[in-house]
Symmetry: C2
Subunit: 206 residues, 2 copies
Amino acid sequence: MNSPHFSTKERILGAAEELFARNGFAGASLRELTSTAKVNLAAVNYHFGSKDNLVNEVFRRRLDELSAQRLEALQQVLSRPSHTLEDILAAFIHPALLLSLDKSGGSTFVRVLARAYAEHNERLRKFLSENYGHVLKEFANAFGAQLPHLDKEELYWRIDIIAGALTYAMADFGVIKRRASMSEKIHRERAAEHLIRFAAAGLRAE
Amino acid sequence: MNSPHFSTKERILGAAEELFARNGFAGASLRELTSTAKVNLAAVNYHFGSKDNLVNEVFRRRLDELSAQRLEALQQVLSRPSHTLEDILAAFIHPALLLSLDKSGGSTFVRVLARAYAEHNERLRKFLSENYGHVLKEFANAFGAQLPHLDKEELYWRIDIIAGALTYAMADFGVIKRRASMSEKIHRERAAEHLIRFAAAGLRAE
DNA sequence: ATACAATTCAAACGCCCGTTTGGTTCCTTC
DNA sequence: GAAGGAACCAAACGGGCGTTTGAATTGTAT
């Protein structure tokens, strides 16, 4: 990673993703970051304006594609004459699974995403809501069509819980180390299956 | 909170819990912390030795009681002649639910716990594993007795996922704000019910 | 080759960090 | 009420932080 044929901006984004995942946003310093990326200390402020905005761009790089894949999968599901709650859930969850299995930083990014949840950072929340809130809205509409009896506020809240559980499951948290013989891919796929079943039951509850 | 009749150590622990939840461990400075607790800047190092150790003590204060409650509930469940997977899960989850509903900082602490998961901090992991790993082990044994066919490594891993999902659900994460009319208590209790069903299905899978 | 913009760079800015120090105050215990 | 240890305090330590500056370098049109 971060080979010389990557541009300065790309090297910074790569190093940022790695260090944000490892040390958090506050815990990752621009000095360590620029040293890892093999760029000058001032390069972050030159290319991204500020550290805060660099955080935004780290998210934008991955979430643009993730959102597009989710929406495309959703369109495909909705175009089918009879689709289930599980189909919609798969359209939401599988793109995240694919991202977490990506070899060039995707799995690192999922951990950054989990950090963002834990941060409760208002500025970051606003950025994510403004730029990717419409994806949640589209899925909420799809779920709502399947669950016409469900209160809209409650529906949004449940979708939010699903997004959180998904993030957590993909981010490899926890105390126990996975043994080397079990492939990461298989484990994550299993987690995705469990999540779909859980979320479907949760949405249908009451 | 932090009234004058609380000792210096207690005021520091209270402020630490609050600021760690809001700003993270790296993001919370001792200057803001001691100012909030209305104690001298040097008090943290005097009473706790270092900021790192203060983090440990914040966890110890809550986890000692949580672990005791979990183990006691587990003993009660196991003493009953016929108990289910759901019973064991409830023994694990309900004490955490009670903690999250606690009025004097418990709900704040659950957010700190979620931070700890996101941190992936090796020092903190070691502390938690050394001091509270035996609780997970007891529950693993109980689950294992109910699921004799299940691989031990896989069992531990699944328990870990359950612990993570529980933490996430209790910590009030997510983008959507809960409307004021829905009580926090009821929502959390519902989340606990969903979790128990999910975890039981997950443990029984395969 | 020249002019001009984009990029890189070393150095410095002011600020806040965790920790330590040495003196003062408070509170026991005799 | 004197002695002595525990607790508190203001001040300072060295160091790392994000950001800015202005000059040097590189790239790109003419």
